[in-house]
Structure formats: structure tokens, C-alpha cells
Assembly symmetry: C2
Homo-oligomer: 204 residues x 2
């Protein structure tokens, strides 16, 4: 039974998808808190509506990293909530120590592209500008890099000629809301083995 | 009706797939010649067996480029065969002028990855080493870069935990043998519009 802490900076649609999937029993776990580096992020309102503890934590002067004192505050809060697994849901900072080491091998992220293509910001825009015909999402363990950790699963979706950044982003998010609970199901049932960069899914 | 010239350096399995698809009427075109920079490449034997003119053309000292006199010889031979569209099928050199300019916008390649991921050599090995869960192939127009031209279509295939480089490569090739005739069907029926990096498929 995973005790999941979710970290997000924005709307929190993946937080919602995970909370809803947990309620439906799609994986063995529960969301025990939401933390945001952004005081008025909608993810905190979603947490409040779902009756899940939520907390804004100031992550310090760097807007692109969660490090030092800020990262330590997150660790302390998560420990207090008995979190044993961290899920990033639109968290816009690169995770540094002590947060990274505390949850090493116990923290995943979802990225809106078929990594290693289009890491970083607004992958859906990058994908449209490149002109790819297939897009998707990637659930991966978090390591010290940006969107570089071992991959748990990937899902493809088509790019359509008339796609705008918004329509493509919406289609990718729909795939994410299915993929993230799927990944949590694999992990919570003990079927995921990580060896170096390779993630094996042990059969039922 | 496309008059297709195929350029290859090796086994020529995509050449064969295209010849077979043309016979079955899967696109509006015919393969009128095969050219190889490798004297004993099996693609030339396949051409001979299919009754299609084949020619070894020495492409000069650089093993990674088709340029200068070598490229010119290919252009001359292709002109003599009335080629109006060039298909690269395992051609292991980067295409330079005058070959590139002669067939600008009329030359496509197939690459064994979901570009822009894993350009260059042995993409299937790169994919396995990275640990992706989805692989595939990309049909793209040829430009001056390596595997960088506008994308006509892409097809996904799953990576399986027990894949070896050989088993993954075989699964990708199977997808290629379907994707390449599909792309030629779109192009030969005039449904492909290229604008910058974006390729639109006009509806039937």
C-alpha cells in the first residue's frame, strides 16, 4: 500500500486523475498529501476539495530548482504525512537534494512526450514545431537530470494535421491520466524492477 | 505514376517490400532501378531477381557521404532510368549535392526510430540502451542533415522487456515494410503537402 505524496505547481489534473483512480481501486495506494511551490496553485484547491492535506511550501529564490532549505521543508512535511512514494504532477522545478536522495528510487514524474524526444518545457509545442506524427507521454523515475530517469512506461497518441498546441496538449494529458495510474498499479503491486536505465515489468 | 529509384547499401529488405507493394498495386508507381554504393550488396541481387536494373556505383573515398563525382554518377544513372523520385533503403551515406539538389523534395528515407529520438546508426541499440518502452520508424524527406527532414509518417511498436537488439530491429523492420508503401501511396496520390517542417496529408 503506497502512501503517496504529490508535488505540483499548477492545475493538478494528474493529481486529480490519481486521486480518482485510487478511489476506484486501480492501484494499491492512497494520496496522503499535496505540496505546491506555488501558493495559489489549483492543485491545492483540488486537495482541499478531496479532503487531502495540502501545503504551500516556499522553495526559495531559484524558480527552476527545489533545493536546499526548500527541499528540506518538503522532506519534513512529507515525512510528517508518512509519505513513502512521491509523484510529481506538473512540478516545475528540478528536484535536488535532500529531496532527491530522500526519495531516491521512490519518486516518479510524467512527461508530456516520448522521451528522450522533447525534454523540458512545453513538449507539445516542441513536437508541433518539429513536425512529428506521433506524440505521447512518459512515466519515469526521477534522477538528477531533467526528464532523464529510467522509464516505467510510455504511451503514444497521434498528432493530427490541424492540431494546435492546445489540442495536442489536451490529447497528451488524456493519455497521461490513464498512464499515471497504470504506472502506480505496476509499482504498488511490486512488479517493477529497475536495473540501471532499464525497467522490467515482472509478469503477474 | 512515380518512377522510383532506390538507393541502398545492404540487404534491401525495404527495397523488396516496395517492389512487392508496387506489384500488389498499393501505390501508384514502379521501381525502375536500384543503385548501391556497395558492390556485393544483396539489394542488387534482389533487383536482379525482380528483373529491375541494378547498378553498383562507386561513391568515392568518404564512406559516410555520397558527394561530388560519386553523387553525380548516381544522378546521371537515375536520369537515364527516368527516375523522378528517390527512395533510400538502408543507404549508409549522407546525401550531398548534386544528388540532394537534383531530387530536392523528391527523396525520402526511412529511419528505424521515432525521430527526433535516436538519429544515426543502430537506433534500435540506442533505444534499448536508453530503456524506452516504445520504438518505431519514421518516413521523412531527405534534407542536408542526418535524419532531420520533414516527417511524412511515423509508426509505433512496443519494446518488450526481453528484447535483444536483433528482436527489436526485426520488429521495427516489419513496421517499416508497411510504413514505406503507405508513405509512397500518400505521395504518389498527391496527398502530401510540405510547408517548412510540417507535412500535411490532404484528405481523399
Amino acid at each position: 500500500m503506497l502512501n503517496i505524496g504529490v508535488l505540483g505547481s499548477g492545475n493538478g489534473s494528474n493529481f486529480q486523475a490519481i486521486v480518482d483512480a485510487a478511489k476506484r481501486g486501480e492501484f494499491e495506494g492512497r494520496v496522503c498529501c499535496a505540496v505546491s511551490d506555488v501558493a495559489d496553485a489549483y492543485i491545492l484547491e483540488r486537495a482541499s476539495k478531496a479532503g487531502i492535506p495540502g501545503r504551500h511550501i516556499d522553495c526559495g529564490p531559484s524558480k527552476s530548482k527545489a533545493e536546499g532549505v526548500g527541499a528540506e521543508k518538503i522532506v519534513e512535511y512529507m515525512r510528517g504525512c508518512d509519505v513513502d512514494f512521491v509523484v510529481l504532477a506538473g512540478f516545475m522545478r528540478i528536484v535536488k537534494d535532500p529531496l532527491l536522495s530522500e526519495f531516491s528510487g521512490r519518486m516518479i514524474n510524467i512527461h508530456p512526450s516520448l522521451l528522450p524526444a522533447f525534454p523540458g518545457l512545453a513538449s507539445w509545442k516542441q513536437a508541433l514545431e518539429y513536425g512529428v506524427k506521433v506524440a505521447g507521454c512518459t512515466v519515469h523515475y526521477v534522477d538528477a537530470g531533467m526528464d532523464t530517469g529510467p522509464i516505467v512506461l510510455q504511451r503514444c497518441i497521434p498528432v493530427i494535421d490541424d492540431d494546435t498546441p492546445e489540442s495536442l496538449h489536451a490529447r497528451i494529458q488524456k493519455a497521461e491520466h490513464v498512464a499515471y495510474p497504470e504506472a502506480l498499479n505496476l509499482i504498488s503491486s511490486g512488479r517493477v524492477e529497475v536495473a540501471g536505465r532499464k525497467v522490467r515489468i515482472v509478469k503477474d
